[in-house]
Subunit: 134 residues, 3 copies
């Protein structure tokens, strides 16, 4: 199952918990694992709190501090987006979340987010795969 999101900024965190939850509920699967993956090499999927959206802002600022943009990266000569590739690898393209009672098992403050690292982009594809447990 695939859905797309559009991103409006160069870098931002966009919550996708509700889109994923809908797919899980529509599947009718009561128990299993839900795998969520962004099909792009300059974005990531993370789990974090979105009740305070500044957590996403802090994350992006922290990544800018740890891995500075345009710090002489070789790939910048090709696409000028090396930092996005580096941080996509560090965070990873996917998360896996358990399903119980037909719903995602997440802590109170956990949500799923796409991290856009090289936007804005009209369409970022998110693949959702559900493995049922009999």
């Amino acid at each position: 199952m695939q859905f797309t999101i559009s991103t409006g900024r160069h870098k931002e965190c966009i919550e996708i918990t509700e889109q994923v939850r809908s797919i899980v509920r529509d599947s009718g699967i009561e128990r299993g694992l839900c795998h969520v993956m962004v099909l792009h090499a300059t974005a990531a999927v993370i789990v974090n709190e979105n009740d305070d959206p500044n957590i996403g802002v802090d994350l992006l600022n922290a990544l800018d501090g740890a891995v500075p943009e345009h710090a002489g990266w070789l790939h910048d000569r090709v696409d000028n987006n090396a930092q996005a590739h580096i941080n996509a690898s560090i965070m990873g393209p996917s998360e896996t979340v358990p399903i119980e009672g037909g719903d995602l098992v997440l802590g109170t403050w956990q949500g799923l987010m796409v991290v856009e690292l090289d936007g804005p982009r009209a369409s970022r594809r998110v693949e959702v795969t559900i493995v049922p447990i009999a």
Copy 2:
């Protein structure tokens, strides 16, 4: 299947390989995948060596170097734990480990650990989900 651990320090790495291994053995499942997730937004699950517990200390010190605590993060105004949220997203809340012969498939020096980033906490919930392969 869920178990809880308590954490005794502000930040620490706590091995949980034996708890997870017990759940796998008790399940009687011979082959599959074992997904281990901490249900909190200020902790992470990692795989690493615990034979030398200083590896966990080094990891936490390295994260303090890469993402300094209280470096003007916006979320610190709300909860004062922005660094914990940032590092939880970077490491991620879960790991998935294969099961073969009714046991976890791990390298000689690999173990599962919870990384506490905002403790001490009386109870951190760890969800273990096993997907059998027929």
Copy 3:
């Protein structure tokens, strides 16, 4: 299913997409999840672009910047490879990729790579586990 790779440098990124794809195709499984894990505590598995191999070079240089080698790490007194353990935990030992139509579901610029952090090594074991969806 397991295969091994040898690494030729102290640190390098080695693409393994074709090895994993072969295992998926040989399995005859049309739909499911493919879990790929390196069974060592000083290596990682990531997803990124390998069309420009400099992305892997940039990643390793960025990690050297964020987590300096031999910066007084305690584990260096034992094995002198603390940085490798730290970065292995940050990136993680595994990735999970969907299978559809008997093939890996990856974005155009996504490939699977082993990140060697403490090489060269004659043999790094990679475990591939496929969970079919009926």
